[in-house]
Amino acid sequence: MKEILILKNVCKSFNGLEVVKNVSLKVKEKSITGLIGPNGSGKTTLFNLISGIYKIDNGKIFFNGERIDNLEPYKISNKGIIKSFQIPRLLKKLTILENMLIAAKNIKGEEILNVFNKNNWRKIEEENIKKALSILEFLELKELRNSLPTNISGGQLKLLEIGRALMCNPRILLLDEIIAGINPILAEKIFRKIIELRDNFNITFFIIEHRIDFLFDFAEYIFVMDKGKIIAEGSPKEIINNEKVMEAYIGEK
């Protein structure tokens, strides 16, 4: 299978502090790839670099053979790279359903000159609403569609964050600790959904997760980061038996 996302020698520092050091990695298309590492190892920063929220200092990022590291975040997003946020970021004064719809595409309805003719965009809007409601139903949030995100629980916010990412028609989803704070039964259901999406819609998943039990059950390939570097990579089995990884998490023997 070909590689959809390639990072070559990516570096990033904040005020002299090197957060991501010379990271190179390849994510295969249609795979579920995990990224693990201790707190502060630079995982989220790496995701922010891929999605263009931060600009990289050095190196190159390729998506589907195309260089993307110099593009603006919205252009990267439109290429199909969608990121979920570790701490849910939601639009507080828009309803749950609107929070979902904002991620959908309605090319005509989003252009000022086209909004005056409702026929231009009403049909797509209705389809988007249908899609959003079905995703909300899956996430057990459908009843809350008309309430504000400020009125729902932390776990539900995380679910909404996933739901919104699914609305985008992504080619690759960068999921940042999606199941933290979600009950195990639903978490398992979410991972099963991830596999279903991968199989049916050819979506690639790149996942940061601390719940290694879940991740190792579902992921095919794992990268391990520590102090801004990739210290190990391989299948979940190889990673479990890797001494370097143990050292990074628990300390030297």
């Binding site: 970021r89 004064k93 595409k105 965009w121």
Partner: protein
Amino acid sequence: MIAFILDTLIWIALYSILSLSLSIEYGFTGIMNFGKALFFMIGAYVSAIVTLNGLNYFIGLLFAILFSALIGLILSISMIRIREDYFAIVTLALNECFRIILKNEYWIAGGPIGLRNIPSAFPLKNLSYEIFLLLNLLLIIGILLFFYLFLRIIINSPYGRILRAIREDELLTQTLGKNTFKYKTQAFTIGSAMAGAAGSFLSQYIGYVSTDLFLSTTTFTIWIMCIIGGPSNINGAIIGALFMRGIERGTRILKDYVSIPIDPNNFMFIITGILMVIFIMYKPEGILREKRMRVE
């Protein structure tokens, strides 16, 4: 008395347009525009210059809208990327810069004297004052209605949803694939065009323009109307204008009936200030709050 009422209604409608224009910028898109009086002024001057050169008022109105939209577009492209609080400072300063330049440069538009004898939109002879006011009222309500319906369509579309998303979280909206820069620029341009139209009406209505009509206090009045009425609701913007003009005119009438120990003008400022504080503390969303989408 009829003239007084008509005049009051005209001013309410005029300020409704301004308040609406701030509502699309601040209430829906989150742009802190503290230079509203600048575009009001540009519209007034452009329209005045056009009509003083013998052209019809409606051509002047069109020029005023286009010209203030153009200035709004140029300014927003150059500075909309800066953070919102700095944007407020920059627009406030720009307002003063433009005003002081106009005031000191005679060749542009008369300097401190301003422009006088601006032809009315209704240059009919033998027109009674009440009819003149009524025609003006119809004109301004027409302009208001046009912009009101325009905004109503915009904010109830996916386009409006993106504007509101930008207000809540610009970075997030960007990562969801929306070119927020484009949307903010457009919202600012629309707001500027609306303020320009209001300025154009003012210049023909009172027949003269001078820079002293467009001090920053005008901007602040519009802000107060917008915040009290409900910035994220287009009906709220109009309610705000009604409310504030009501207080202003009401205090003037009040002095005929009740003896208050202070000047009615100052009394108005006191009431406005107190109301502003009360609203920001206890009802920050304004009299009318944002409409929510409901889907069964």
